[in-house]
Symmetry: C4
């Protein structure tokens, strides 16, 4: 029974290191993980550059193995320390963790030269690890709130842009035609989106005077249109900002990054003893 208890306390300690960022060892774990993730993404990028891949092939290969093993350890540790491992495994970050770990193992199983292209694609999955960095963006709640509250209006607006693009694209397809690069309606709609968003690649450009005249109208429209989402976000953000300042005066409490070992819920108030989502007791060190 004593063994089981010491075992449990060992698990609890590991849980604190992995899932909480308030203890020194927890902070260290987060920083190391951050560096390994960024390193793995840079590695994937460098590998895609042909001359670097040829010159430093061995170094890249070894580095990849090191990172794969580190990710494997992290993945196993996360499963062991969580009360409900299945919930972690099937969660969004759980799936990303698995997918970004396995590619190198699979490369041994199918080590034929003919499977190289598919392997490369698998390796690229590691890029999604970057999404884990999104957790560090949590501080900017005002920004996310402003985007959320204006989401519906931006959606309506983008829908209007698409309707406009389809109609104007079809008209341009009729005017310019295949000989000037407007091969079909989807390509014309693509051109119209490129123009309305003021990107303007120039791979397709109107060449008839009438086409250039209509393109000018599309551009000036885009000029007026670009003002709308900016105005919306600007207004929403100002309001969010104001109510935030009002709320700051008396209603705010500090949230720490302590995570519940049962349901993985984060952001508990300082001094909370039980998880606010599942009622599981929180362990303070």
């Amino acid at each position: 029974m004593s063994t089981q208890k010491s075992n449990k306390s060992w698990k609890t300690k590991l849980h604190e290191i992995i899932y909480e960022a308030d203890t020194p060892s927890g902070k260290l774990f987060d920083i190391v993980l951050l560096i390994v993730i960024i390193a793995s993404i840079i590695l994937v990028m460098l590998e895609s550059v042909e001359w670097i891949d040829k010159k430093y092939h061995d170094f890249l290969n070894i580095s990849e193995w090191v990172i794969t093993i580190l990710f494997s350890i992290e993945y196993i540790a996360r499963i062991i320390t969580v009360k409900k491992p299945l919930k972690y495994i099937t969660s969004f970050y759980g799936i990303i963790d698995l997918l970004s770990t396995i590619p190198k193992y699979i490369s041994i199983l199918f080590a034929g030269t003919h499977a190289l292209v598919a392997l490369r694609a698998l390796r690229l999955l590691r890029i999604f690890r970057i999404l884990k960095l999104a957790r560090y963006l949590g501080a900017s709640n005002t920004l996310v709130q402003a985007l959320k509250s204006s989401r519906a209006k931006i959606a309506v607006f983008l829908f209007a842009v698409i309707i406009l693009s389809v109609i104007l694209g079809t008209i341009m397809y009729l005017i310019e035609g295949e000989e000037h690069g407007f091969d079909n309606i989807p390509k014309s709609v693509y051109w119209c989106i490129v123009t309305l968003t003021t990107v303007g690649y120039g791979d397709i450009a109107p060449q008839t005077p009438l086409g250039q005249f209509i393109a000018s109208i599309v551009m000036i429209l885009g000029y007026g249109i670009i003002a709308v989402p900016t105005g919306i976000v600007s207004a929403e953000y100002t309001m969010q900002h104001k109510s935030d300042k009002d709320a700051d005066d008396d209603k705010t409490v500090h949230l720490n990054s302590q995570s519940c070992s049962n349901c993985l819920n984060e952001k508990h108030q300082d001094g909370a003893d039980f998880c606010l989502k599942c009622g599981n007791e929180l362990h303070h060190d």
Copy 2:
């Protein structure tokens, strides 16, 4: 007389399905129509892609006939159920409905190979059906109001942009000339609009040092100018938003999508017994 009554009630029921969205069957009708419209537009787009048109010609042809027949049934049903059919036929959506239905029928009458190009153009008319989707944008009245109240100022602003483009375009025509792509003043003005709106295709670009210097000034001008419509919409939207919130407190009532069978006016208050435009009695189910 009984027959006439049952006939009338049949018409009334159909009217409810087509013109109102509050009953389950009315909602279903709207969703089906939405899908058919989007399908017809995707069809028109795919048909314009040469290799798709060749490979799946039969499938596209049959699909087009199905959609044409569905549109025909809708068009006839709308005429039958409305009290004043002529008003519907001559209305904006009535004309669009007719134009987007007939192209396939005309293609039988003029089935010669020499009329292919004209037929293609006719088929493209169906794209305007997408405008019917605009009805679903009705929710965003704040947005439309903000645009409407700043319409005059945006017009003045765009007028200033055009004056600027004409003068700068003429100057660039004199500096760069025909050998660098500035063939004539209209084309130079087109270049100037492309630059001022920050689209920048690059199909025409200044090549003399003086031309590049003036182009730089045009771009920095455009940089300062782009701020103006955004500022206008942003300010108008903030105000609209505020007065909306004030109005929300006590003056709002719920509008349903019930449509008058006499004058086609929509947006009646919940519990309204007569049309607010023409005084015609509204039928509740």
Copy 3:
């Protein structure tokens, strides 16, 4: 003496027609002038298109003569009816009126084929007539005020953009060099302005990995920078708008377009009997 009086009243009447827009004949004069100016600018534009100039040479030539004669009549009438002709002649619009009238007369004096290029340039001067249309923009005072009050800040901002462009342009010249289109520092600065303003022609584009990395930083900088002038104008406009609304409640009077025959000052209050600038009596019809 009677003759002189009738002469004076004739002059006064003409003055009212030309300089005031409140009488029916004054309005008609303004509209006709507006149409002639736009026609003259379209003419200049069409003439620059080679195939139009060749095909419709005689029509364009006659039209130009008609417009030149109309402009001449207007110019002489303006000089006769104003009390201080010299002030009109040396004023901004007076010089533009003269310069846009004389090109066709000069073309007779130097009718040799060798002077064709210079003549073309002279004809283009008529384009500046478009500036006279700026008078019709007078209604949007809020807009102009917002721009004026934020002028100093936009200037400071653009100065910062130029400093940034010079430094980044020089760095890119060192990295990319002549072989990739960055021929010299002025051209590199031009590229930097093209990129920072998000125009992006693509006539010059970085090709080395390091150059593309720095270009990415320039673009993301431009992304953050574009927010600044928009924010300034938006804030200034909102304030202008508010104080305008406050002022509207009790302080506004209607200004008519009556112009003083002595000092050409416009915008007098309704019912004003003397010019507010020079004290000259205003004639009511």
Copy 4:
């Protein structure tokens, strides 16, 4: 002792001329320095243009010597008049002053033809002199404050843009591949930044229908995203502006450009007798 005193007063006078802008001679010094700096930058630019360098080589060479000598005199004068010369020499502007002065002297030491490229690079260092002009931007504190207070949010936002670019860039690399210019992931990420920021060079552009479809989504995303930093700066600026106006009522004092001869701190209140940073007595003329 008298000599030392006169010597000290001579130093004090020179200090006033160089570091303060309130006396007539101090203003003149600032204006002359401004002109010399701009002249030196234009010189560096012109020198990089091959045909100008060839044609006017002697004139450019002499001008460079004149400017180098002027900069040398300024640098020595600054060291002499400051109480703590080492602090000036190791300060940011001190290093820039030295680096922008020495290139021409070094060109004599290594006057071989083989060192030409390195010399050119050294000469370019003078471009950083432009940063000294930044001092003249000091007036726009509101702008700088608005940028500072929204710096954290803009950083978070740009981080999100980079995450998005890495993921979308990798996807595009898989779809388009090397044959369409997406050679490797870093280049694809570069393309994604070019597109998201609406620059759109067109040197790399998607050519497969699927690639163009995803590019359209990237562009529309960029369209929605561009609104965010603008909204932030706009909101922050409005608030800054408001609190500035409140502060203007009673809390502001005039700051002059008098600079402390001990610690180089600028911006003292009118009438201040001692430096607010180091307590050194300030000399009034």
